[in-house]
Symmetry: C2
Subunit: 246 residues, 2 copies
Amino acid sequence: MSDAVAQYNPSISVDCVVFGFDSKNLKILLIDQNGDSLNDSKLKLPGSLVRKNRDLDEYADLVLKELTGLDNVFLRQLYTFGSADRISLKQDREWIEKTYSVSIRRIVSTAYYSLIKIDHSNEELMERSHNARWYNVSSVRTLALDHYRILTKGLEVLRMELRFNPIIGFELLPEKFSLRNVQTIYEAITGINYDNRNFRKKLGQAKYLTPLGEKQKGVAHKPALLYRFDKEKYFNTRKEINLFYI
Amino acid sequence: MSDAVAQYNPSISVDCVVFGFDSKNLKILLIDQNGDSLNDSKLKLPGSLVRKNRDLDEYADLVLKELTGLDNVFLRQLYTFGSADRISLKQDREWIEKTYSVSIRRIVSTAYYSLIKIDHSNEELMERSHNARWYNVSSVRTLALDHYRILTKGLEVLRMELRFNPIIGFELLPEKFSLRNVQTIYEAITGINYDNRNFRKKLGQAKYLTPLGEKQKGVAHKPALLYRFDKEKYFNTRKEINLFYI
DNA sequence: GCAAAAGTGTTATGCCTACACCCATGC
DNA sequence: GCATGGGTGTAGGCATAACACTTTTGC
């Protein structure tokens, strides 16, 4: 993304809602627009203008790769924001014009959402090179541009998806996790508190959770058994849902 | 959409997947690219390039209004198609360049889907002024550009939506309909055959179906009772779905 | 009277919900 | 030994799934 500015299309951008989970809270990766802690600084979603004749999807991939160093992460299109007045603040407009050296009118932005297994090893890199950091989703109140709206849409879709494609939850969990972790992530995303006996009973029926016969270590309570998510079994054993709701 | 071509943004278009229902089959509104029945003719989705600084949504509305004369129809964003090679056929590229007098590179297209109560009164108009006609979705095999893929996506989303927002089904039905109509539309969209006793039992629980005490007329069998969909009751009586699937 | 589609009830099964206590560990 | 979170079973109610015959109309 260091090519000559003339190649950028001043009409189209991609923005990424990057979700993570730290075993307690749902997190989102945000960038400090000004790169420092000036009073005027505002957080924004990672994103980029798109070069002419380039795939939108490819660009979303690129943004993520540059930001986190990660490849092959879960990434899916969310929604396209195309109102004429999305860049209403002068401050936002100036920031874009300065950053990309283009004069803009309206920018149509296609938003993607991504699910990341948070790995503390690359946090320092993210922060140094992109001023990117994880924030609790629940504590975010405003963002630059219309990015808060995009985040809201991301949450909405995440909630919907989780109900039917539990794989969404496991994309956020590390390789080894406890059943409690699964419940916590469901609760963090849906906002519903589940009865733990019933929740575990249901998970118990899932063929795709392989117990590792291994326990948590160094916790000051009964250590939890750890599980692994078996993608293959997941896709092979899922049954069609024929239900509908009135 | 008859303004000077220079105002069009050669990067962004909207395309509409317009669904209808004729009490038997799920239908889609398609346009004959060439306006006549030449051998080379291919069907496409209704759509348009978007003018600079105009809302995407507004444009989708406009396309529909021009096409059907209808206002305030159900219209929702579907997906944005942005691969670099979506206009792979020379024939398609030439058609676009000729129609809009612009030279194009890649076009990012935001697709919308719309649900229409088919009214035979405006069919002639649609056909004369836009070469638009209803086709059975199940008999469509190919379309111009990547429009078949867009249709497929539309169907996929329609299926998903119907399960949780039954309102989708009633957008396609006329004011007065029989319970059999409801079942047929569910079957047409989901591809599942429902047991009619169970299906009706479930519908019987819905508060939003008001019986009109009126019967079908002129049918060579036991006439069905007619119902009306009560939007207000629908939104007031729907209960939250807390379920999730493993 | 016959063809064609509308309409109707019961039973078995499985899923969801609600609910309270013991267990293993670190300090 | 105590604080902390992990882990467990049962019973009642409700929704689903499977299944076949009668009714009303037009011709």
